[in-house]
Symmetry: C2
Subunit: 475 residues, 2 copies
C-alpha cells in the first residue's frame, strides 16, 4: 500500500517542508495509544509540513487528484490511533502553523494556527486575566488542532465545557483543496448549517483545520483546591455524584483510586495516600469558601475521611501534576505490563458509581490491575487494564474486561469515548453506540464531502466488507 508521492516535488514547497526519510516517517506512525501496544500504523510515504493555508490546499488538491491518502498529524498525543496513517500516503504535520494570528482581548477571542500548543494560548492571554478553559491534561504538549480533531476536554470541563464549546469559527480545507470559513466572530449565530461543530470532533476525516477562533474566559478571582480522601471507592464516587447533582459549582473534581495513587507515587516520587481520593478545585469571584463548605458537607455525608484544602501553590501544583501524569505513571508502573486501550468512557453522572464499581469488580474477578481515574464530575472514567503482552490468556481476559466496560457505559446511556475520539481503536463501537441509521448518516456526509476518501481514511468508521477506501481497490 505504498503511494507515489513524487507529485509533491511539483508543488510550491521548500525542501525542508517534505521528507521521505525513514526516521521522519516512523515518528509519524505512532501516537500515545499505539506506541504502547506495538500495533503501529502503516508508515506514511511522505511527511509534509505546511506553513500556510495555501500549502494545505495545494497538497490536498493534488493528493485527492491522485488518490493519495492524507492524514493530519501534530503532537501525536492521541490515544486511539487518530492521527496514525492507516493507509499510508501523506502525513500532514501541522506543527509549523502555530501562530497567534490575531488576538482581541476585548472580545475574549484569539485566532490561532492549528499547531499551537494549548498552554501557549493560555500564556499569550494570561496578562489580560484571560484563559482558555477546556484544555485537556495534556494541554502543555498537545496542539489546539489535535484538540479540535477529537473535541477534547479536560479537568475544567465539568464547569466550563469541552473544546467544541470554545471554538467560535474555523478556517478549514476540504479534500479537494477548497478553503472554507465557518462560524463568525459573533458569540452566537443561527446562520446556515453549523459546519464548525461538524468539523470539530471529526478527527481530520472531513477537513483540515488551518485556523481556529477560540473564545476565552476571564480568570476567576478566587481559586482554591485540595483533596478529599475516602475509605472506599464507592464512597468517593457517590460523593462526586451527590456534589454534582447538588450543583456545588466545582471547577475540577477528579477521581484517583488507590491503585492509581500508588502508581503516581512510584512514578513521581510523590506521597499520595494509598486510598480513593477526589482532587478538587473551586473557581469563584465571590464566596468560594461557601462553595467549599457546601462540598465538604456533602462529602461528609458520604463518610469522607479527610477533606484538605490548601493555600500553598506549590502543594497544589504537585497535586495537579500527579493527576496530569497519571497516564504516564500507569504506563511506567511495571515493565512487564502494558496498559491496554488507555482511552475513556463517559456516562451520565448518576451512573458513575456503577461504572467505576464494575471496572474494579471485573479487575478482581479476572485478577487484573485496573487503575481507575478520570474527570469524575463529567462521568468520565479512564480505566486502563494492565496486561502482559506476552501472555495471550491474560491479554484475552483484559480485552474482555475492556469491552465489558465499554458496553456497560452504553447500557447506562453513556458514550464509548468522552474525549479521545474513535480513531482506529474504537471503530467497532461506533454502531453499537449510535445505531446503523446514525452511522450511515455519518458515512453519507463523509462520502459527500470527501468522495475519494482522501482525508484520514480508516478512522471512525468500522471496516466494511468491500474494503474501506473507495480507491484502494485500484492499487
Amino acid at each position: 500500500m505504498t503511494h507515489d508521492c513524487s507529485f509533491l516535488e511539483d508543488l510550491d514547497l521548500a525542501d525542508d517542508q517534505v521528507s521521505v526519510a525513514d526516521g521522519r516517517r516512523e515518528s509519524h506512525a505512532t501516537d500515545y495509544g499505539t506506541e504502547r501496544l506495538d500495533d503501529d500504523g502503516v508508515l506514511p510515504d511522505a511527511v509534509v509540513w505546511p506553513e500556510r493555508t495555501a500549502d494545505v490546499s495545494a497538497v490536498l488538491a493534488a493528493a485527492t487528484d491522485r488518490g493519495v491518502p492524507v492524514t493530519p498529524y501534530a503532537a501525536g498525543t492521541g490515544l486511539e490511533g487518530n492521527a496514525v496513517p492507516a493507509h499510508g500516503g501523506i502525513s500532514l504535520d501541522l506543527t509549523r502553523m502555530d501562530d497567534v494570528v490575531d488576538y482581541r482581548p476585548d472580545d475574549f477571542q484569539i485566532d490561532v494556527g492549528p499547531g499551537i500548543i494549548g498552554s501557549d494560548v493560555d500564556d499569550h492571554v494570561a496578562g489580560d486575566g484571560l484563559f482558555f478553559p477546556p484544555l485537556p491534561s495534556s494541554g502543555d504538549i498537545s496542539t489546539i488542532g489535535g484538540m479540535i480533531a477529537t473535541d477534547a476536554s479536560g479537568m475544567q470541563t465539568v464547569r466550563y465545557g469541552e473544546i467544541a464549546d470554545w471554538v467560535l469559527a474555523l478556517e478549514a480545507v476540504l479534500a479537494d483543496g477548497t478553503v472554507v470559513r465557518t462560524g463568525s466572530r459573533a458569540i452566537k449565530t443561527s446562520s446556515g448549517y453549523n459546519l464548525t461543530d461538524l468539523i470539530v470532533g471529526s478527527e481530520g476525516t472531513l477537513a483540515v483545520v488551518t485556523e481556529a477562533t477560540l473564545e476565552l474566559a476571564g480568570r476567576p478571582e478566587q481559586i482554591r483546591g485540595g483533596r478529599a480522601i475516602f475509605e472506599t471507592l464507592a464512597d468517593a464516587t457517590e460523593a462526586v455524584f451527590d456534589a454534582v447533582r447538588t450543583d456545588v459549582g466545582v471547577a475540577r473534581i477528579e477521581l484517583v483510586d488507590g491503585l492509581s495513587a500508588t502508581m503516581a507515587n512510584d512514578y513521581l516520587g510523590s506521597d499520595l495516600p494509598d486510598a480513593p481520593m477526589v482532587f478538587l478545585e473551586f473557581h469563584a469571584n465571590h464566596g468560594v469558601e461557601a462553595e467549599i463548605d457546601l462540598c465538604r458537607t456533602i462529602f461528609e455525608d458520604h463518610g469522607v475521611a479527610r477533606f484538605e484544602m490548601s493555600d500553598d501553590d506549590a502543594e497544589m501544583a504537585s497535586l495537579w501534576r500527579a493527576r496530569r501524569e497519571l497516564a504516564y505513571a500507569v504506563s511506567a508502573y511495571d515493565p512487564d505490563l502494558e496498559p491496554l486501550h488507555p482511552g475513556d468512557v463517559t456516562v451520565p453522572i448518576s451512573a458513575y458509581p456503577e461504572v467505576v464499581r464494575e471496572a474494579k469488580r471485573l479487575g478482581d474477578e479476572h485478577d487484573l490491575l485496573v487503575p481507575c481515574f478520570g474527570h469524575a464530575g463529567d462521568g468520565n472514567l479512564h480505566y486502563s487494564v494492565l496486561a502482559d503482552p506476552d501472555d495471550p490468556d491474560q491479554l484475552e481476559r483484559a480485552e474482555g474486561l475492556y469491552r465489558e466496560i465499554v458496553e456497560l457505559a452504553l447500557e447506562l446511556g453513556g458514550t464509548v469515548t468522552g474525549e479521545h475520539g474513535i480513531g482506529q481503536g474504537k471503530r467497532t463501537f461506533l454502531e453499537p453506540e449510535h445505531g446503523a441509521g446514525a452511522v450511515e448518516t455519518m458515512r453519507t456526509i463523509k462520502r459527500a464531502l470527501d468522495p475519494t476518501d482522501t482525508l484520514n481514511p480508516g478512522k471512525i468508521f468500522p471496516e466494511t466488507a468491500d474494503g474501506e477506501r473507495v480507491r484502494d481497490a485500484d492499487r
Copy 2:
C-alpha cells in the same frame, strides 16, 4: 405548484391527524415575520399532525417517494418564514408531540417531544430547583422543536449560552423516513460526527426532530434585577461593552432605546422613561451584591443617570414583560406603519456600539423610525425599520437601511442572524456571510441527506438559476 397528497389516506393516521381544509392550510402558511408583511407563503396542500415518531417516519418516507415537500411547523413564531411552506406540499404540525418522555433530575436532563412549549419545560422541573436557561423571549408560546430548528437563544444566553449548548441528544427522522438517534446522555462525547449540532439550527431542512434530550441548570440562589437609565444611547452601548469585557457575570443585559420604551408604554400602558435603558439581571449563589456593585461602577464610568435595582417581584415581572413584548409593541405602534424584517443581527461585543449608532443614524438620515433593542451582552440587535407598506419610496429606503445594517454586521465580523435563522428572509445574505465555499459545503450536505429536497425546500439557500427544488421541474 399543488401536490397530490391523497397518499396520506393510505397511511396509518387517524381522521383528525390530516386536514385539507382551507382554514387549516391558511393558518399554516404564516409566521410572525411573514404575517406582518403580507407576503404569506404558498399554502400547504395538506396539514398533518403526527402523534408519534412512526407517524413522522411514514409521512416522510411516502412524501419523499412521491416528490411532495414537507415543511415542519409548530407554534409559527418564527420571524423569517422558516416554517412557512415555500413550495406547498405537507405542513407537518408537531404540536401534538408535546410529551415529557422522561425526566432525570439527578442528571439534570429531560427528554421531551418537539411540540412542548418552552416554559412548560421550566414548569415541569421548577419543583426540583432546575430550569432551562436558553429560552427565548417567546419561550411561553414557542416550542422546543422550533427553538432547535433555529438554534434560538434569549435573554439569558449572555450567561448560559444558546439552545445548541443545552441539547444533548436528539431523535430525528431523515427525509427517507429513517429514524436516527444522535448524541448520548453523557454530558460530553467524542464519538463520531456531531450530528446533533448539525441538525440544531438546520431549520428542518435535514431532519425532523421527534425527541430532544435537554440539559437543565440549577436555579441560582440569588436573583436580582433592575434597570439602568442613560442620557445617550452611545453611553448605554459603551457601558454594556465595558461590563461584558470586564466579565461582570451578568445573567441578562438588555438594551431598550427610548423609542422602543415609548412604544412599550403605548402598547402595555407602562411608564418607562423615554430614554436609553439597559435592563439587568444578576444570578449568583454568593455575592450577587458585589456583582451588582461592579456593574454599577462601570456604568457610572459611562455616565449612567439612574441605576435602579429592585427587590419587588411584581415590578421586575413588569419590567421583563415590557422587554419580552417589545416586538409586539413595535408592530402595534402605528396602524399605518409595519416593521420591516423584524429579525436580528449579532456582532462581536466590541462592535456593538457602532452597529447601534449606525442603525439610529441611518434612521435619522432616511427619516424612518428605527426602534433598537436586543440582547446587548451577546452583541445582538433587533432593529425594526417601520415603513408604510403603501409608500413605495419609503419602503425602498427602509429596505436599503435594513440591508446596510446587515452588511455592516458582516463587515464587523458578525452574523446576519444570531437567533432567528435564515428562513426565506435572509437567504440572499448566506453567501456574503459564509462565502461560496462554505455555502457549497452546506448544499453538499443537504443534497447528500435529502437528495429529493423533500424537507422544507426553499429555505436557507439562495435561489439558484435552475430552480430550487430538484424535482420541481417534473411538475
